[in-house]
């Protein structure tokens, strides 16, 4: 494991992703997998290492040589979300709790571009950073047994989307008609660590139109390439 300071920040994420790329490129022909979260990298070997110390010192040397790229680009992925009560079952409760009107809550949630730090918890579950302080709300005491696929939710000071129906303790504020994980595609997720996502409010009718387009594999997700 390689660890960085215990904080959720873009600058740390960039170092993590640069290091991850250097290690992945180095190990490209071997059965070694490099995965990252907010502030750590796990290097996983499919075989037994003969000399752990020489492996560690080799990795240390590699890490010293990691250079930040001259310019950094990312994809901004637009994710349509319907915040209607029928989908956002906790929206009224959490906006009241946070002393905001429902519209203010939606505007603030949709008004930030969120950084994708990593993917975990479920296939395609994007861990997003950048939730506005005013929108944080504690996880449910008792998680729900079944949260619908596509639910956009807030847990503590994090926000995310459930890629499939699952138990969960986060507060549900809306739903997206997109498929966040498609194992037959390459990559199988709609965003990668380092990208950003923007929630785009849509009404009920638009939600169902998009949903039917997604089902027919007809809907094209809007992605822009931008500079950091």
């Amino acid at each position: 494991m390689i660890n960085w300071p215990h904080r959720i920040e873009d600058s740390i994420l960039f170092e993590v992703l640069d290091a991850k790329k250097t290690l992945s490129d180095f190990y490209i022909k071997q059965k070694v997998h490099v995965n990252s979260t907010y502030n750590s990298i796990l290097v996983r070997y499919d075989y037994t290492i003969r000399n752990i110390y020489s492996e560690i010192s080799m990795i240390s040397e590699l890490l010293k040589a990691v250079e930040a790229p001259v310019s950094r680009t990312y994809n901004l992925i637009h994710i349509p979300v319907c915040y209607d009560e029928e989908f956002g079952i906790d929206l009224i409760r959490v906006s009241t709790k946070n002393e905001l009107t429902k519209d203010e809550f939606i505007r603030t949630h949709a008004g930030t571009d969120y950084r994708v730090f990593f993917i975990g918890f479920l296939p395609g579950f994007l861990y997003l950073g950048g939730l506005d302080d005013r929108l944080g709300c504690p996880r449910l005491e008792t998680p729900r047994q079944k949260i619908p696929k596509g639910s956009v939710a807030i847990g503590g000071n994090q926000t995310g989307i459930y890629p499939r129906s699952s138990p969960g303790g986060w507060n549900i504020i809306g739903r997206s008609p997109l498929d966040l994980f498609s194992p037959e595609k390459d990559p199988p997720t709609i965003a990668l660590p380092g990208d950003k996502v923007r929630f785009v409010p849509v009404d009920r009718e638009e939600y169902f139109n998009i949903e039917s387009g997604v089902r027919k594999d007809d809907y094209e997700i809007l992605k822009e390439t931008l500079y950091d």
Binding site: M1, N3, H6, I8, K31, H33, V34, N35, S36, T37, Y38, N39, S40, I41, L42, R44, D46, F118, I119, G120, F121, L122, P123, G124, F125, Y127, P163, R164, F181, P183, E184, P187, P188, T189, P193
Partner: protein, 282 residues
């Protein structure tokens, strides 16, 4: 083709799992008792990674529509071919119409039915291990059909056999290493980890194995970090959770211990209510 006549308690197709999807949040999956999968494939002369049927507690009933050869490893579920008991850990010839039935596990928890050449079900992200949302089916249901390869009739009569590893089914002490957050445990908590036996709770699945006895603690929670099968988490409420093969790839609870593959294999053959204890591997 293999036809699933009765699915048993819970059966699924498993190989050595998939590592191609870890970065996308896809668990590794794969056989819970890896060593049993390796053995069943070895007896049949298969690649160790060939897919087999993993049976849990009560085995399935299968009809073979093609000639092939099979072997059974892992827990003893009194396998019967056309009503007659057959030995575990050796190769048996199969002709079209043959019926294989596994019953309740007499010892252990999971058995593996291997087939010559392996099962040829859907491969997704480099593996045939069934997992919800990744493979088209997440388990073997009654009425399912599984593709298998063709086999020369002459090959299906190997005399290969392995001895049952009885020790594995009765061993209680599992070797572990310190996890990344082990250093935050107090002396008293460390003692509790290694000085007692733990009962496996009813919350025992391919994803995780929760233990009954609690270890009260005030360890600071961590921000979500990578986890592996075999990682032992300690929750704020004192619960020890041993992550198994279908575990999610990241987690927010402190990681106090780490089991190796052998430890996971042992735990995979334990049932709820049985006991285990931990010992540090130096």
């Amino acid at each position: 083709m293999i036809e699933v006549l009765k699915k048993g308690l819970f059966s699924s197709i498993q190989d050595m799992g998939r590592t191609e999807g870890i970065a996308f949040g896809v668990p590794i999956s794969g056989a819970m008792d890896r060593s049993a999968l390796i053995r069943v494939n070895a007896i049949l002369g298969n690649d160790p990674d060939c897919a087999a049927i993993e049976c849990t507690l009560i085995g399935p009933e299968l009809r073979f529509h093609k000639s092939t050869a099979i072997a059974v490893s892992g827990a003893d579920m009194t396998p019967k071919l056309n009503g007659s008991p057959i030995s575990m850990l050796r190769e048996h010839s199969i002709k079209p119409g043959d019926i294989l039935k596994l019953g309740p596990a007499r010892i252990g928890c999971r058995a593996y039915i291997g087939v010559k050449g392996g099962l040829l079900s859907d491969e997704v992200l480099g593996s045939r291990s069934q997992y919800e949302g990744v493979t088209p089916e997440s388990f073997l249901d009654s009425g399912a059909f599984i593709e298998i390869g063709s086999v020369d009739r002459g090959l299906a009569n190997s005399k290969a056999r392995l001895k049952t590893d009885h020790a594995k089914f009765s061993v209680q002490v599992i070797d572990v290493q310190e996890g990344p957050e082990f250093k935050y445990l107090e002396r008293g908590q460390v003692n509790q980890l290694f000085d007692q036996t733990f009962h496996i709770s009813k919350l025992n699945s391919r994803m995780a194995c929760q233990l009954e006895e609690l270890i009260p603690n005030q360890i600071q929670s961590i921000i979500t970090a990578p986890v592996l099968p075999g990682t032992v988490q300690l929750t704020p409420s004192g619960q020890l959770i041993v992550l198994m093969r279908d575990a999610q790839t990241t987690g927010g609870y402190p990681r106090v211990l780490q089991l190796n593959h052998h430890g996971i294999d042992i735990l995979a053959q334990r049932q709820s209510g049985q006991r285990i204890s931990f010992k540090i591997l130096k």
